[in-house]
């Protein structure tokens, strides 16, 4: 293998050099020095690609609903947002009465299937900024009253953007939806027997909270903890 062949090989993948390439590198000081510099730049490429996911996600606003689209001008984006908001309000008022308990139960149960990434059992909490973004002024949560909050996003449920949290219960992850605009007059049972999950939508002041966890989860104590922890924003 000559210098040109060796450099062609190492420039394509500095991490993998075959036997002939390794032999050339041992025998040619110039190519060995070149390889060292190239591998240093390769480490730089690797570090650049492996960005800090948590930090980038904090800035995405991904959990706050409709996303920015770079191709729209600001004017069009505002006009489009206003139109979408108007249509959404009309749809909500026309088709999604918050007093329809069956529809609310179905929407909450359906939502459980939407975010499989949230089902993980973990001891890692989301950071404060992520939680605040998910709450987006809807409510405050006293974390001293809850176990680990492992997931927090703002999600569209029954025509409203609501905070979707996951706390780690004794039997596994538990989904909480803070339904600030949904009034229920009595607890509504939630039941997903195929998934081994059960829970309820419980009234809380002017809104309600959906709690859905494993069959074995002690819902009674969890209800009290959640009721103590959540305070609606005025």
């Amino acid at each position: 293998m000559d210098c040109q062949e060796y450099r062609q090989q190492i420039e394509t993948d500095p991490a993998r050099v075959d036997e002939a390439g390794a032999a050339h590198e041992r025998d040619c000081e110039a190519c060995a020095a070149y390889a060292r510099r190239l591998r240093e730049s390769e480490r730089l490429i690797g570090a650049a690609l492996r960005f800090d996911v948590t930090r980038v996600r904090e800035h995405t606003g991904a959990s706050t609903g409709p996303r920015r689209r770079s191709s729209l001008s600001a004017t069009w984006a505002m006009a489009a947002s206003a139109a979408v908001a108007a249509v959404a309000v009309w749809l909500v008022l026309t088709f999604v009465p918050s007093s329809d308990p069956d529809r609310l139960v179905a929407a909450v149960q359906d939502h459980w299937y939407h975010e499989p990434a949230s089902w993980v059992q973990t001891s890692a909490s989301v950071d404060g900024a992520t939680l605040e973004t998910a709450l987006s002024g809807t409510a405050s949560v006293n974390l001293d009253r809850l176990s680990v909050v492992s997931y927090a996003r703002s999600c569209l449920v029954n025509g409203r953007w609501v905070p979707h949290l996951v706390v780690q219960g004794e039997a596994g992850p538990v989904m909480l939806l803070l339904l600030s605009g949904e009034h229920v007059t009595e607890p509504l049972p939630l039941d997903l027997p195929d998934e081994g999950l059960r829970g309820l939508i419980m009234p809380l002041d002017d809104g309600s909270i959906a709690i859905l966890g494993e069959d074995e989860e002690s819902l009674e104590s969890l209800q009290q903890d959640v009721a103590d922890a959540v305070e609606w924003a005025i």
């Binding site: 040109q4 450099r7 062609q8 420039e11 394509t12 993948d13 070149y34 510099r37 190239l38 730049s41 390769e42 730089l44 490429i45 690797g46 570090a47 650049a48 690609l49 492996r50 960005f51 800090d52 996911v53 930090r55 980038v56 996600r57 904090e58 800035h59 995405t60 606003g61 991904a62 996303r67 920015r68 689209r69 770079s70 191709s71 299937y113 939407h114 975010e115 499989p116 990434a117 089902w119 993980v120 059992q121 027997p193 195929d194 998934e195 081994g196 069959d215």
Partner: protein, 174 residues
């Protein structure tokens, strides 16, 4: 096995096989579309599809390639639906800026900018090789290219990056 325990088994399998790849799949999606917010959508949808079709994955050794295919398809679907324009580095959002500047090291920041500006045809094989650890043969299969074309693209991608960030290195010509 009862339906409930089958469901538990599916969830456990998902957590074991898929969850460990979540961060890297998000990174891959970000580099694919150069939009951290959009990448979040792509990965969420991809995760849902992966969960639904996990039963079809017979050989667990190929889970990474399988997930990458799902993310690529979901990304293509999103672009088809939205007909999104290509990104310009002058139109950085806060998330884009956070992506580029999420390091104390200015060399890494410069390299990230350079990768951000690479054409798709060079950026994707590089990401698959360096970030996801695919061989050139696997990249060729994933991108439906000949292996020679992959080698050329990888070589050119590195040349563009090194010429911009480390010009003193004197990368060989094509």
């Amino acid at each position: 096995m009862s339906e409930a325990s089958a469901s538990d088994a599916a969830k456990l399998r998902f957590e074991r096989l898929v969850a460990p790849w979540r961060d890297d799949l998000y990174r891959y999606a970000v580099w694919l579309c150069r939009d951290p917010s959009l990448a979040d959508d792509v990965v969420q949808e991809a995760m849902l599809r992966a969960f639904r079709s996990l039963g079809s994955l017979k050989d667990e050794a190929v889970v990474k390639a399988w997930l990458l295919t799902i993310v690529r398809r979901e990304h293509a679907r999103v672009y088809e639906r939205k007909r999104l324009d290509t990104r310009d580095i002058d139109e950085l959002s806060a998330a884009d800026a956070a992506l580029i500047a999420s390091s104390e090291d200015t060399d890494i920041e410069d390299m990230r900018k350079a990768i951000f500006e690479l054409d798709d045809e060079y950026r994707e094989p590089l990401v698959l090789q360096v970030l996801m650890g695919l061989s050139t043969a696997e990249i060729a299969e994933a991108l439906e290219l000949k292996q020679g074309a992959v080698l050329t693209r990888l070589h050119r991608a590195r040349k563009k990056l090194v010429d911009r960030v480390r010009p003193e290195l004197g990368f060989a010509k094509d």
